[in-house]
């Protein structure tokens, strides 16, 4: 079997080797002089996944399809030794055939001299019409970056994957390509997101696993994950404290040790704690506001809303009522505070 050792500089965007397909036109023209051959499934090297760009696509529907109408699209193999083949395209179809109990199948055999890069690109285009989920996008970019130069990735591959043709996007997917495969499922299920994975890896390299596990546990969406990462970074910079020290501080560990709370409740408590740390003066103002409002002795139908962030000092008084009597009762509760100028005590 031909295996290429790919040397990659650490800590920077990798240097791309020369691109065998320098333009989209060339990429579209990829074609080989196939041989057609009957292959026993026992001749396949199932451990060789260099060209695999598929993640978490269920097999039963494909098995059902093959049982009904047979194989419509031939698999592509390449000979890697005497009577040994690796799978270029059609890994799932072959697995489906195996599960049906078929022993051999007619396949296309790519010439042995075709380099890996061309085979990978062929498989990429072969899979293009089915679309790519987030894990497959990462797999495709990671694998193709070994063979395709940065410009071709940006100009051709990213748009075909449904991604914006931007360097920052390419870097993001290359970065998360280095992440442990154990997080692929969370990425697939939208419990982790490319942006937040990248931020975790970039800003908290020693805490990435901890943070990603936390996100999965708390079942936070994208916005909450993003805010948490920004807040943790800001808190760390503000206090000069190591992020690990913040994350494993007593108030936070206590939140997670409280066994009666659901993940959602723990997440809410964590966000509240972070907010109090980031906005101490605002939190104090909010408390002072609550105390002032309580001292006004208003009824349940009367609400006072402060200006956003208490900026500007314009408060809103709202009285909900359904009758003259209700409004009169509410106003009677307001008037004494007004006469005593208690509203001037609002922060």
């Amino acid at each position: 079997m031909k295996r290429r050792r790919i040397l990659r500089p650490e800590g920077s965007l990798r240097q791309f080797p020369p691109d065998p397909f320098q333009s989209k036109k060339n990429m579209q023209s990829v074609n080989f002089n196939w041989k057609i051959k009957d292959i026993y499934l026992s001749q396949l090297d199932w451990t060789e996944t260099s060209f695999r760009l598929t993640y978490n696509r269920p097999l039963p529907p494909l098995v059902h399809s093959i049982r009904t109408i047979g194989i419509q699209h031939p698999m592509v193999l390449q000979e890697v030794g005497p009577e040994r083949y690796r799978i270029v395209a059609g890994w799932r179809r072959l697995r489906a055939l195996q599960s049906i109990g078929l022993e051999s199948i007619q396949c296309r055999i790519a010439p042995a001299e075709i380099p890996d890069g061309e085979l990978l690109i062929w498989n990429f285009y072969d899979n293009l019409d089915r679309g790519f989920n987030p894990v497959e996008q990462v797999l495709a970019i990671k694998k193709m970056s070994a063979f395709v130069n940065e410009k071709a990735l940006l100009d051709d591959i990213l748009p075909l994957l449904g991604l914006a043709s931007k360097t920052e996007i390419l870097r993001r997917y290359l970065t998360i390509g280095e992440l442990s495969p154990s997080y692929q499922n969370a990425l697939f299920q939208n419990r982790l997101f490319p942006e937040t994975i990248e931020s975790s890896m970039r800003d908290f390299p020693n805490l990435t696993n901890c943070i990603l596990a936390l996100f999965i546990f708390l079942q936070w969406g994208y916005q909450k994950q993003k805010e948490f990462l920004a807040d943790l970074l800001e808190l760390s910079k503000r206090s000069g404290q190591d992020p690990r020290g913040i994350l494993f501080s007593k108030p936070i560990t206590e939140i997670f040790q409280y066994s009666l709370w659901s993940p959602q409740q723990k997440g809410a408590a964590l966000r509240k704690y972070f907010r109090a740390c980031l906005f101490p003066a605002l939190t104090e103002t909010e408390k002072a506001f609550s105390r002032s409002v309580a001292s006004l002795n208003l009824d349940q139908r009367t609400k006072i809303a402060p200006p956003p962030f208490f900026e500007g000092g314009k408060y809103r008084l709202e009285v909900a009522f359904s009758s003259n009597r209700e409004l009169s009762q509410s106003l009677e509760r307001i008037l004494p505070s007004l006469e005593e100028e208690k509203f001037d005590g609002l922060p």
Binding site: A281, E284, T285, F309, F310, E311, G312, G313
Partner: protein
């Protein structure tokens, strides 16, 4: 203090202006590039590098314009006399960093147009007081030794009884001013901060003691002075530091000659934060509690600002109860809690208060 440039770019329209010729004669050895219009600096150009390129151009728009205030915050009604943008001083908090579509240290060489426009403005608004300043988009005096702009003011302004130009600076470049006989149309003012802030955050600016010494020389010469504690930056030990700064101010200067002192807490547009983080990674002040304010700028929480202003006013007024102290771009709630009144609410507007101060000056001079 002198600033070194590595190159001069001359726009074709500015080529034959007297100021251009004078500047080129001052720097005979500097490379000169002539262009038809503003060239893009390119992504590789840094702000620091950009500041070392002097760009001479004619400004084709309004050279006199109102200060860009917002309705939620009380504006002093100052007008900008637009002599250039950017300056050789490199303050970490400078808002101009966020407007990098206007690179280089840009000087407008069409000085005569500026005074023509001033004449027209004054003619169109008879009876109005014109408080003008050149320090909004650049430092008023940093390039004065090079441009001699202040000398033009001495020639052009005395005919106006209702025009005052405030020259706001962080330098000690008062040489040209000290050569002239002061006129009531010119107020020289300094932005002040504690020396620890100046040292860390105002790269290339004069030290506090240098600024106060320059101010002392101007006061001794007979100029009226202004001071601006803006931006006030809250940091551990800020109270002692700002109190020391106020004390240093009044140790060096007599309060009688001070026209006004303004206060303004640090605020910034959100896009400035990553620029400060990148250009000044050791600056801690950006990592504080800020809230999005009504003008979309990030500000300290109102309660913090009120505490800062109350203390500053107390320290300043300890040296003279009548010293005019005002807040730059603050809301009415803050004014009320700091001063017990809101300009324009059953009393004079801030514009009127400061205009009156200008009229008082004119009386004093007479």
């Amino acid at each position: 203090m002198s600033f070194s440039f590595k190159k001069i770019i001359v726009e074709e329209s500015a080529r034959y202006a007297p100021l251009t010729e004078a500047i080129l004669q001052t720097f005979p050895n500097l490379p000169v590039e002539r262009v038809d219009q503003l060239p893009p600096l390119g992504p590789q150009g840094s702000i620091a590098e950009s500041k070392r390129i002097l760009y001479l151009t004619r400004f084709k728009g309004e050279l006199i314009r109102p200060c860009p205030g917002t309705k939620e915050y009380i504006c002093c009604g100052y007008r900008i006399l637009h002599i250039g943008t950017n300056c050789p001083i490199d303050c970490s908090y400078c808002i101009l960093q966020a407007y990098f579509n206007q690179p280089y240290t840009r000087l407008f060489v069409n000085t005569a147009d500026l005074f023509d426009q001033l004449k027209a403005h004054v003619h169109e608004h008879p009876g109005e007081i014109f408080r003008l300043g050149t320090g909004e988009f650049t430092d008023s005096l940093a390039l004065d030794p090079l441009t001699g702009f202040s000398r033009h003011l001495f020639q052009e302004l005395p005919v106006y009884s209702n025009v005052v130009v405030e020259l706001k600076t962080k330098t000690r470049a008062v040489g040209n001013l000290l050569k002239e006989i002061p006129i009531s149309n010119i107020i020289v003012s300094w932005s002040l901060n504690p020396q620890e802030i100046i040292r860390k955050e105002e790269r290339g600016a004069a030290s506090l003691s240098e600024r106060l010494e320059a101010a002392r020389q101007c006061q001794e010469r007979g100029y009226f002075l202004g001071f601006h504690f803006d931006p006030i930056i809250v940091f551990p030990g800020w109270e002692a530091a700002y109190r020391r700064t106020v004390e240093a101010l009044f140790s060096a200067l007599s309060p009688e000659g001070i026209v006004w002192i303004s206060l303004g807490c640090f605020r910034f547009i959100p896009t400035l934060k990553p620029i400060i983080q990148k250009r000044s990674p050791s600056s801690r002040y950006i990592h504080q509690e800020f809230i999005p304010a009504l003008d979309k700028k990030m500000r300290y929480v109102q309660s913090v600002r009120i505490e800062v202003y109350r203390k500053m006013v107390q320290w300043i007024r300890a040296h003279g109860k009548e010293i005019t102290v005002y807040l730059c771009m603050e809301n009415s709630s803050v004014w009320d809690k700091v001063f017990g009144f809101v300009p324009g609410e059953n009393c004079s507007t801030l514009t009127e208060i400061l205009d009156q101060r200008v009229l008082d000056l004119a009386m004093v001079k007479k």
